[in-house]
C-alpha cells in the first residue's frame, strides 16, 4: 500500500474518530439529565432554544462533477503542488514522497529517485517511497533490485495487500515461481477480500498447473472485484485447460461484451494516447492532491489542507474518503456550514453508512439546526430501521430538545433490539428527565 493510501486511510480514520468524538461530546453524548448538560436545563426544558433552522453560511463551492483541466495546466499544477509541499514541509518525508510521485508521473525518473531517497533519509520507516522506488526499478527492468526494496518494507513491518502483490510480481519477473506463489498465498490469507491479490494468485496457480485452485481464485476475484478484461481472459484460458470449453466460450462472449463496451478513440477528435494519458494523469493528480491535503492536515495547516482536498475532489468527486477528510479539516476551522454541505455529499456517496448520518445530525444540532438533525436521523432510520446507533442518537436528540415522548418512543424501539444495561440506563435517564420536565412516563 502506498504512503498516500496510508495517509488517506489515516486521515479517514482520524476524521471518523474525531467526528465520532464530536458525536460523543456534543449534544448527544451528554448526560441528558446531568446538571452540566448543555442541552437540558434543571427544569427539563430544552437548552436548544428554537427549532428554527440556523444553518451557517457556506464558503466553499464544491465540485460535484469531475473538473476537466488541460493536460499541461494540470502537469504544471502538480509541479506547483510538489514545490509547495517541499518548501513548506522540507523536513517531512511525506512532502518529498509526494514530490517524487509528481516527478515519476511526469517521467522525470532521476528526480523521482532522488526525492524518494531524500524522503527515506528523513524517515527510513516510510513505506511509500520504497513502493515508489520498487515501481521505478521495475520500469527499468531491475527486477532483483525491486524485490530487495520490497523486502525492506517487510523488514520495517509493512504488510499490506499491495506490498504482497508487488512482491509476488517482482519474484515472478525474476522467474521465481515458488517465491511468488508464497508471497501471494500469504497475501491472500491476510487480505482475503483483495481481488487483485486473488487474481494474481490465480494467474500464478495456472502457471504452476494448480488449475482448479486457479479457477476458484479467479472466480473469487471476479466476485469481489467485478469482471475485467484481465480476469475474464485469464479465466477463459484456465477453463480451456480444464477442458471446460463450453464455460470458456461463455466467458469469452462476456469478455467480448465488455470489450465492445469499452470506448474507442476511433472517430473522436482527440488522440487515443491523449485520452489514455489524461485519464492516467487525472487519477494520479487525485492521489497526489489527496496526499497533499492529508499531509497538510497532519501538519495542522488546515487552510492548505482544505485547498488540496477540494482540488482532489475536483479530480474525482466520487471518492468518499476525501470528502470525509475534508469534513474534518473544515471542522477544525469551525466552518460548520461547509461541514454540513460536505456531510450531505458523503451521505449521497455512502447512503447506508449510518455514522455519517449521525455525524450530520450532530453538527446540525451543534449549530442549532434541529430540523436538519431530525431529518438526517429520520432519513437514516428509513434506510436502516434497526440501527442502534441512530436510535440512541435520536433518543438523545429528542430528549435534548425536550421532546420526551419521541425520546421514549425511540428508546422503546431501541429496547426491542438491545436490552443491555447501557440501554436500560439510557431509558431510565430519559424517564427521569421526562419526569423532571413534567411529562411522566405512561
Amino acid at each position: 500500500m502506498s504512503k498516500l493510501v496510508k495517509i488517506v486511510l489515516t486521515g479517514v480514520l482520524v476524521a471518523a474518530a474525531i467526528i465520532g468524538v464530536v458525536v460523543v461530546i456534543t449534544p448527544f453524548s451528554d448526560e441528558v439529565t446531568s446538571r452540566d448538560s448543555s442541552q437540558v436545563s434543571d427544569n427539563g426544558s430544552p437548552l436548544v432554544p428554537s427549532l428554527a433552522p440556523k444553518r451557517p453560511p457556506t464558503t466553499l463551492d464544491l465540485p460535484k462533477v469531475r473538473l476537466v483541466k488541460e493536460t499541461k495546466a494540470l502537469q504544471e499544477e502538480l509541479r506547483e503542488a510538489a514545490r509547495v509541499m517541499t518548501e513548506t514541509f522540507p523536513e517531512d518525508s511525506g512532502s518529498w514522497h509526494l514530490a517524487a510521485q509528481v516527478e515519476s508521473e511526469l517521467s522525470q525518473s532521476a528526480k523521482a529517485e532522488e526525492y524518494w531517497g531524500r524522503s527515506l533519509e528523513l524517515k527510513p520507516r516510510h513505506f511509500g517511497p520504497y513502493l515508489g522506488l520498487a515501481e521505478l526499478l521495475t520500469s527499468k527492468g531491475q527486477f532483483q533490485d525491486a524485490t530487495q526494496v520490497l523486502q525492506k518494507v517487510f523488514e520495517l513491518g509493512g504488510s499490506t495487500g499491495e506490498v504482497y502483490l508487488k512482491l509476488g510480481e517482482a519474484y515472478e519477473n525474476q522467474g521465481m515461481l515458488k517465491e511468488s506463489l508464497e508471497a501471494l498465498t500469504t497475501g491472500v490469507k491476510l487480505f482475503p477480500q483483495e481481488s487483485r491479490l486473488l487474481y494474481g494468485l490465480g494467474r500464478l496457480q495456472a502457471q504452476s498447473e494448480q488449475l482448479s485452485e486457479a479457477e476458484e481464485n479467479l472466480k473469487r476475484a471476479i466476485a469481489l472485484g467485478g469482471e475485467s478484461k484481465q480476469t475474464l481472459s485469464t479465466l477463459a484460458g484456465v477453463l480451456m485447460r480444464l477442458e471446460k470449453r463450453d464455460e470458456a466460450i461463455t466467458v469469452r462472449e462476456r469478455l467480448k461484451e465488455i470489450s465492445n463496451q469499452a470506448s474507442s478513440a476511433t472517430g473522436q477528435g482527440e488522440s487515443a494516447f491523449q485520452l489514455a494519458y489524461d485519464a492516467a494523469l487525472s487519477i494520479a493528480a487525485f492521489r497526489i492532491f489527496e496526499g497533499c491535503g492529508n499531509l497538510c492536515y497532519q501538519q495542522r495547516r488546515y487552510p492548505l489542507a482544505e485547498k488540496y482536498l477540494v482540488r482532489a475532489i475536483g479530480q474525482d468527486p466520487s471518492v468518499s474518503s476525501v470528502w470525509i477528510a475534508l469534513s474534518e479539516v473544515l471542522l477544525h476551522q469551525s466552518k460548520y456550514g461547509d461541514v454540513i454541505q460536505v456531510l450531505e455529499q458523503i451521505n449521497v456517496l455512502e447512503p447506508k453508512n449510518m455514522i455519517h448520518r449521525v455525524n450530520l445530525a450532530s453538527i446540525a444540532l451543534k449549530v442549532g439546526d434541529v430540523r436538519l438533525a431530525e431529518s438526517a436521523l429520520d432519513e437514516a432510520l428509513k434506510i436502516d430501521p434497526n440501527s442502534e446507533l441512530v436510535l440512541v442518537t435520536l433518543t438523545k436528540l429528542h430528549a435534548a430538545v425536550g421532546n420526551f415522548d419521541k425520546a421514549k418512543e425511540a428508546v422503546a424501539m431501541l429496547m426491542k433490539l438491545n436490552s443491555s444495561p447501557d440501554v436500560l440506563q439510557l431509558k431510565d435517564r430519559i424517564e427521569k428527565a421526562a419526569n423532571q420536565a413534567g411529562t411522566p412516563s405512561s
Binding site: 515472478e172 519477473n173 522467474g175 478484461k229 481472459s233 485469464t234 477463459a236 485447460r241 476511433t266
Partner: protein, 559 residues
C-alpha cells in the same frame, strides 16, 4: 580400465556441471554465442528511409521487414531488404527502393537490385518468400503502405511483377506481415496478408497536437481486416477472406507466422496485434478458420494485458516437442513466450517465469529469431530493440530510440539468461532495429543475422562462436504437397534426445527467413534418425537413419 576411467570422467563432468551452476540454477560459465559485425565486408550496404519530414506519420515508425532466401538455388542464402518511400511532403533524392543482395559466398554479397528487377519504390513493410507456383524457385510477396506486390522468380536471376495478373494487390492498405501457407492441403501455397490500420494523413494531422509528446498511434485508427488469397493453381489467386472466416475479425496486425499450432496436420495462422489482443486463426483443414486466440491463451499476456505485439517467431523453446510462440512487445511489457501445452493448441504465457524478457522489458522490441545460436541442442532467442520515437528518452527515460539488441541463451528447464553483454561488440551497438532475418549465410552451420534498422543502415552479423558444436541443416522438398514443404514437421533423434522443428513461413517482424531447418547437436557427430512428416492430406513420412552431423542435407519426399 576404460569403463572405470569413463565413470570417473563422467562423475567429474557431473560435479563440474553442478559446480558451474550458480545457486539459482543459472550456469556461471560464459556463453559461447558470439556475433561479429561484418556489414562492411559483407557489402550489404543498405540504408532504410522512413520517408518522413518530421510529422511522425504512423508508417514512419514501422521500419520494415526483410527476407532471407535462396533466390537462385545456388545453395547460398540471399537477402531482400525493404525500404520506405517519401511520405506526404517528403522528397528523397534518389528515391529509396527495396534492395536485393545476392550471396556470392563467404558472407560476401553483391547488390543485384536492378538486374533482378526487384527495384521497387513502394513504401514497403512486410515480405515473405515461397515457391507459390511450384516451379522450384522462390517467389516474393511484399506488403506495402499502398498496393502490395508479388514478384515471380523467373529462374534466371530475375523477377517479374505479376501482382495484377495474380490479383493480389490487396487494395490500397497499410500492410504488415505476410505469409504463404497451404490452407486446404491441395499442394498450392495460398497467401495470408496481415493488414495494420486505416491510417490517413488527414486524421494524423487532426490528432497530432493532442498526441504530443507521442504521435497518433494504432488505437487512433480503425483496424483493417486481414486478407486471405487462395491459390488457383494457374498463376492467379482469389480473395477468400470472407468465406474462410479470416475477415470476420479485425486487429492492428503486425508480425505473422503460419504453422500447425494445434498439431492437427494443417496450417494455422498467428497474428501479433499492436495494442489489441493477438489473433489465432485456427484451420479446420479445409481452409476455414475460426479466431480462437482467447481460448487458446495467446490473445494476451500472463497479466491479462493486450500488449503492443510486434513480431513473432515459433519454435520448440522448451524442448517438449511442441511449437511455442515468442512475441515481441512494446516498452514495459515482457515479450510473450506462449508455451504450447500438451497435447498442443492451448498455450500459456510463460515469459516472466522463463526470464526470457527480463532484459528487454524497458524497451520496445520488434524482430525476433528463435534459433539454436550456439548449436548446443536448445533454442535461444535474438530480440531486436529500439523505441519508435526519436524523443523516446524524454518521455520514457528507461529506454531510447537506439538500444542494443538482445540475445537470450536457453539454459534449460524453460529458463533463459541474457548473454547480450558477452556476445560480441555487435550486440553493444545502439540502433533502433525493426526486422531481422536469421539464416546460415556463410554455410558454416551457425545461424547469422541481418538486421534492418529504422531510418538507418542495416547490419550484417556473423555468428562467430568457436565452441565447435555440431549441427545439421535440412532443406526439405515436398513432392506430394507444396514444394517448399511449408507445414512439414521434423524430428531429429540422437543419443536419446529428440529435437523438433516445423517448416514455418512468415516470421519475425514482418519478415521471412529460415526455410532451411537448423538443428544444433552439441558434441554429437552422428544423428540416429531423422523423421519427416510431410504436409498435405496424405501425411507421408520419411525416415532416414545414421546421418552424419555438420552438413546441409536436402531431403526430397519419396526419395
Amino acid at each position: 580400465m576404460t569403463k572405470c576411467l569413463f565413470f570417473v570422467v563422467s562423475m567429474i563432468a557431473m560435479v563440474l556441471s553442478f559446480w558451474l551452476r550458480s545457486g539459482d540454477g543459472e550456469p556461471t560459465h560464459p556463453s559461447t554465442i558470439q556475433f561479429t559485425d561484418v556489414t562492411e565486408s559483407s557489402k550489404i550496404l543498405f540504408r532504410h528511409h522512413d520517408g518522413g519530414v518530421g510529422e511522425r506519420f504512423l508508417p514512419e515508425h514501422m521500419g520494415a521487414g526483410l527476407c532471407s532466401f535462396d533466390a537462385d538455388n545456388d545453395g547460398l542464402i540471399d537477402v531482400y531488404l525493404l525500404n520506405g518511400a517519401p511520405l506526404l511532403g517528403a522528397k528523397i533524392n534518389p528515391p529509396p527502393s527495396n534492395q536485393f543482395f545476392r550471396n556470392v559466398g563467404d558472407f560476401q554479397f553483391r547488390n543485384f537490385t536492378v538486374p533482378s528487377g526487384l527495384q521497387d519504390h513502394s513504401y514497403s513493410l512486410g515480405v515473405t518468400a515461397a515457391d507459390f507456383d511450384n516451379d522450384g524457385f522462390q517467389d516474393l510477396y511484399v506488403s506495402n503502405f499502398g498496393k502490395n506486390c508479388l514478384f515471380k522468380n523467373s529462374g534466371d536471376g530475375t523477377f517479374e511483377d505479376v501482382t495484377q495478373i495474380a490479383g493480389v494487390a490487396d487494395g490500397d492498405k497499410f500492410g504488415a506481415g505476410v505469409t504463404f501457407l497451404d490452407v486446404d492441403g491441395d499442394g498450392l501455397l495460398d497467401l495470408f496478408v496481415g493488414n495494420y490500420v486505416n491510417f490517413s494523413f488527414e486524421r494524423h494531422r487532426q490528432l497530432a497536437p493532442s498526441a504530443h509528446p507521442y504521435s497518433p498511434g494504432p488505437k487512433d485508427y480503425a483496424p483493417t481486416p486481414d486478407t486471405l488469397f487462395r491459390n488457383n493453381g494457374d498463376g492467379t489467386f482469389s480473395d477468400i477472406s470472407k468465406q474462410s472466416g479470416i475477415s470476420s475479425v479485425a486487429g492492428p496486425s503486425m508480425g505473422v507466422v503460419a504453422g500447425d499450432f494445434d498439431f492437427d496436420q494443417d496450417c494455422d495462422i498467428f497474428v501479433a496485434c499492436d495494442g489489441a489482443p493477438n489473433l489465432l486463426y485456427v484451420n479446420n483443414g479445409k481452409g476455414e478458420f475460426t479466431e480462437e486466440a482467447i481460448l487458446a491463451g495467446v490473445a494476451i499476456d500472463s497479466r491479462g494485458i493486450a500488449n503492443g505485439s510486434m513480431g513473432v517467431d515459433s519454435a520448440d523453446l522448451n524442448g517438449d516437442g511442441l511449437a511455442d510462440l515468442l512475441v515481441t512487445s512494446y516498452s514495459q511489457q515482457q515479450p510473450e513466450f506462449f508455451r504450447n501445452l500438451s497435447p498442443g493448441g492451448i498455450f500459456e504465457d510463460y515469459s516472466r517465469l522463463s526470464r526470457i524478457g527480463t532484459e528487454v522489458y524497458p524497451h520496445v522490441n520488434w524482430g525476433v529469431g528463435t534459433f539454436d545460436f550456439d548449436s548446443d541442442g536448445d533454442i535461444d532467442a535474438f530480440i531486436c530493440n529500439g523505441h519508435l520515437l526519436e524523443n523516446a528518452k524524454e518521455i520514457e527515460p528507461q529506454t531510447d530510440f537506439g538500444v542494443p539488441n538482445t540475445v537470450m541463451e536457453n539454459i534449460g528447464n524453460t529458463k533463459f539468461r541474457s548473454v547480450t553483454a558477452n556476445s560480441g561488440e555487435a550486440l553493444r551497438q545502439a540502433r533502433s532495429s525493426r526486422g531481422a532475418a536469421f539464416d546460415d549465410f556463410d554455410a558454416d552451420g551457425r545461424i547469422d543475422a541481418v538486421i534492418l534498422n529504422c531510418d538507418s543502415e542495416a547490419q550484417a552479423l556473423r555468428n562467430s562462436n568457436q565452441n565447435g558444436n555440431s549441427w545439421l541443416i535440412l532443406d526439405l522438398v515436398s513432392t506430394s504437397a507444396n514444394r517448399d514443404a511449408i507445414g512439414a514437421k521434423v524430428w531429429v533423434h540422437s543419443n536419446g534426445k529428440k529435437l523438433y522443428l516445423e517448416r514455418i513461413n512468415g516470421r519475425g517482424y514482418q519478415s521471412h527467413y529460415g526455410k532451411r531447418l537448423h538443428f544444433g547437436l552439441g558434441q554429437l557427430k552422428k544423428i540416429d534418425r531423422i523423421e519427416v512428416l510431410w504436409p498435405g492430406t496424405q501425411h507421408f513420412h520419411t525416415v532416414i537413419e545414421n546421418v552424419s552431423a555438420n552438413q546441409i542435407k536436402t531431403i526430397v519426399e519419396g526419395l
